[in-house]
Symmetry: D2
Subunit: 377 residues, 4 copies
């Protein structure tokens, strides 16, 4: 289905063997403005994608390569999606953004990259789905990820790609750092409410529930079917890496430092994130005010569905789509409200939002390639 077409932009997907990479392939292979020209997967290099993902057969795609097998020179790549493990993306992106200008493929895996990046190239755009460029403060990055940032200068140019809030910057960016799945789901309802000062910027508690695909396709005992099915547990208690990312964006919205209490849980499902967020109302504000503010903020958005009064967001009603459902409920405890938001972690929380960002960056209609409705049941 993906034929050569000179009117299409040419895309590379690095890390195509993970679930996020597979979703990028599924969605981009049917995107009317995109042609996939490179797929990489370090451990599966040399294989056709269908050997890794049988559901992605018959799409006419190139076989998998190792990153350093890619001969960027003649490919005329317009956009690179990086769906690589956290911590490995910084040198790759640094190399990429340099290499495409100077054909210095060797730099791709350079261990120190800061000095080779003189100016950001304009001709290629990088849409990164890892955590490597999400945190603006590289000290915070080091604190949470345990090593120094390897492309600190480049970090300064990265745009945090929560699409609905950063279109202008995304349109101009060379490097778009797509938000994590938890931050996406959590921030979408919180940011407008903090911006409008309808809720207090402290005592914000986020209790999030995620499907297993958020942990990737890695072969860990904890992710085995028999370990996950028919049970629930919390994890990352008091210290999940998505917390500082949420703090960062909430602090901008509130215009003062915000520290959230954030606790993720693993639910026995493949896809979906549900965030239940407990907030305190600003003086005089009601849950109804919050609802109205969200309706106003998002009424022109294609992918944000603020539900009608009383309707409850559910991950099953966004599964397979780029939608985020949300709603606000008054708490029985006076002065409190409860926000509930739901996304498909692999789509709006990853590949879908990445494509949405690409659409903005290249001037395509924002919904292109993301038209599919939720798949239920």
């Amino acid at each position: 289905m993906a034929e050569t077409n000179s009117n299409k932009i040419r895309a590379a997907i690095l890390g195509a063997s993970g679930y996020v990479g597979a979703e990028l392939v599924r969605l981009l292979s049917r995107h009317s403005n995109v042609e996939i020209v490179v797929l990489t997967a370090e451990r599966r290099a040399g294989q056709p994608l269908a050997a890794v993902y049988p559901h992605l057969g018959d799409l006419g795609l190139p076989d998998l390569l190792k990153i350093d097998q890619v001969e960027w020179g003649g490919l005329d790549v317009d956009v690179v999606f990086c769906a690589l493990p956290h911590g490995t993306t910084q040198p790759v992106v640094a190399g990429l953004l340099h290499a495409t200008h100077h054909s210095v493929v060797d730099e791709l895996v350079a261990e120190t990259t800061e000095d080779v990046i003189a100016a950001l190239p304009k001709s290629v755009k990088v849409v990164d789905l890892s955590a490597d460029f999400r945190l603006r403060d590289v000290d915070v990055y080091r604190q949470w990820y345990g090593h120094a940032h390897q492309a600190a200068d480049l970090q300064k140019t990265a745009v945090y790609g929560l699409t609905e809030f950063s279109r202008d910057a995304i349109a101009k960016a060379s490097l778009i750092a797509c938000p994590g799945c938890y931050p996406t789901t959590t921030l979408l309802p919180l940011v407008p409410l903090l911006e409008k000062a309808l809720i207090l910027p402290y005592d914000i508690i986020v209790d999030a529930k995620s499907g297993v695909s958020g942990a990737g396709r890695s072969e860990k005992e904890a992710n085995l079917y028999a370990e996950v099915a028919e049970g629930m547990h919390a994890y990352g208690l008091g210290g999940h890496r998505h917390a500082p990312e949420i703090d960062q964006e909430l602090s901008v919205a509130a215009n003062e430092p915000v520290t959230v209490s954030f606790t993720p849980h693993l639910a026995p499902m493949s896809r979906g994130i549900l965030a239940t967020t407990y907030v305190k109302l600003a003086d005089g504000a009601t849950a109804q005010d919050l609802h109205r503010a969200l309706v106003d903020r998002f009424e022109d958005e294609s992918f944000i569905r603020v539900l009608e009064d009383g309707a409850v967001p559910a991950t099953r009603h966004v599964r397979g789509s780029n939608f985020c459902q949300m709603n606000v409920f008054p708490d029985r405890v006076s002065g409190r409200a409860i926000l509930v938001s739901a996304t498909d972690n692999l789509i709006k929380g990853a590949s879908g939002q990445a494509i949405q960002n690409m659409n903005v960056a290249f001037g395509f209609a924002e919904t292109t390639g993301l038209e599919a409705g939720p798949l239920f049941p």
Copy 2:
């Protein structure tokens, strides 16, 4: 998204509150040649579809009606999809095909309809997803469904819509009886092999496994989550209603009477049918011959994927798509082979095949509206 468009055909969906109806809405609402103008649901009449299926909100669709509330007169309907319970469709379809010519809405639920149908109307096409018109022999129908067929004359005009095998007839039909989910999955590999006499027409054993959505959205104890999850069982042992339907088509293919042993099982999953079919090889034939015959037969088909040697079909690799995966394996018992085929029961086994048939009937490209790839994980 569904705007008035005079270039589109106008579709009615009867029984939109079931899972099959919901899938018809999901797919047709994004079909470039179709506008949905009527949705019915007897018990939910008066409500917006989003009240029944929150994932189908914001599509700009008409509210739900009762069938007898539909004023067919001014609607200019081109195609009617009937996703009604088995046994209730015959009078409705008889009424429809008559009423649209003669504006006799009263006839719609007429108890005896045979005499009111003089000639089949040409202006509207009915795509029926119930079992009501699948069995050509109305005596067989009575035997398996427990009551006399209520539109025996109309039955004679019905085309059994296993698309890949009946395109010419479908193109000309007014009434297309879409195959059941089990028959679709079972027949696709079996028919070509019987036609080519590569397998014996007896001792065919079909062991099928289905997800729960095949039982519809009805509120039965047996379909509760806690009853279904984490367990398996067989049902309809020795007498499932899809058996005579399979027999009928296999007998045509084999050109002699075939009686299959067919045993369905309920698997703890929402979607998907896997059919494992045990066959005896014709004298001199090998499993490899069977594989080659299937490859030859289906290589030009858009939705049939005969896998490479050794690759195993899986329901998860067709979920959410109109694809059928299949393959052939040699049995360790000499002279035997094993066929495995997989579909999404709600799509290729119901709504997708119905739309595929509509595409054929109206001359659209057969894949229109069915482009979505499988959703995995």
Copy 3:
């Protein structure tokens, strides 16, 4: 297996066709001190239990009766377990406690029962698993359940049966009101911490996740497999009936009115409750102090497992058992801690705790009949 044995107490189970009733049968039929002599189920009366629950066949149990078919006179029942729907138990229990003294079976379903109960009988004990006698304040009951309490005098005699906190009262009680599944799971860690004033009595937020069996075996669309599987949602937002029950007990523990924010969620699993509770530390207290307090409080308890530092409770690790796992974690937000507790909602949250209470009430070893360890995977 359940033979007549004059050394055993004789038990009736009212409402044996629900999941809680079935678990009572499963556990009591193997309890060395109990003989089951009556099983009721209004809609399935006349059938053997195995027709309703095939896994409970071959136990030598009496067939199902309607409650008013039970001839209490000659049965010499010692204990009655009521696993009836909320709101229907009050007249039954009132009748029971009266009828066993006066042989007035007619009173069993009397609509007004207050005047027939002069003194509580001593010879029979009622272990109620419904919500009908949990709320001490009948006005609160009316507010949350929408009708006047039908046995207000009897309510005064009911003991709230959170076993670990009420053994003395349970030992003497005629009517034990077993806590709900959510309250059990939530209260176990919270009560000791409030009693010791280690946490603040306000801003307590309980985010609970439950398996579907908590909704019973009723044939509701919302509980169908295809509706529940692979998704999550919150429900009862801002007003679940277990909230006032939690408030009631926390207020006793804190010795001042407590109002919790309580939000339950439906998780795609049959059994299990996970409660994640966000609390504020009392001045000077640390998460470690909380952990030590829980260890101290529960170290002699057979069914409460305060996990080691850092270990995370999981519903799968208590499934099929009467255990409650719990732990305390410091929050990254200063001054906060997170409690996590897990139970099997049908056992420690219902039938198991009921039997534990019966053991206390009749002077049996508390673990009798509840020795089974968790079933994993």
Copy 4:
């Protein structure tokens, strides 16, 4: 709970970190005649069992050892359960049965063991749950397992422990080879019917469906939750290692060589095996005759439940128990019948049957430690 008790036999469990090992621990730790004195797990040696299986905490068990760390000398072990990976058990068992006589611990992992085994020791009994001693013909073993049998002499002494058919031999055996989960489930209904010549010994087709725990706790991509949930597929097509094991026992029962067509499937559930077996009736025999034969054969068995006419076996109705449910159904194809049998693969298909065999071998009541009923839902 497991206290030192000189009246109990002393058990070692080799391979306690797998699912089968964990089930052995769960069941034996509550067995009134057994004390667990050794637990081994190569990769987790040095850890408490609760670190590997949190649900098995607080049982007072010894920490995990490597096999060669066990000092068998002073342990007075009476029974050794081997739950080791296939192919690794032969030298261990050979060493064991030798070492306990001669205190030659070094032999335990000897690569050639045939010559060190002079006579079978009587003082220790080995209950092996691997496939290493199931196949009587070591040539067949080599053919299916790809290497020469490493303890061929010992193989001759092994008893195939399908309890219901081999009690006398089990009582006298030093080495009991417990049947695989598929063979157990398949053989139980087939053996009596072949013995009585009620079915034909050819054209037997076994379509089996298993939960994921049958694949063990190994960290394979194919067993990840997101790979398994909500889907089904066949595997081992035409060549699963359990086929020759089934053949072997059926051939004995039929008194002539039998070759089954056996196809396993992976179902999205943790536990349970359902076998649907398609058979041809012997001349004159009816499905009813088969049912009666099974009832007669098994009516005194504690763990075999031949269901009433028409009732359908289900894995969920045996889950967590040592029961096997079975029934017979007439096929619609004349001369055919369908057998359906269900077990919990980890219990009757592994640990439960092993304990049942141990009970027989040591003269305990056969149901000891296996009294738990099925856990549903």
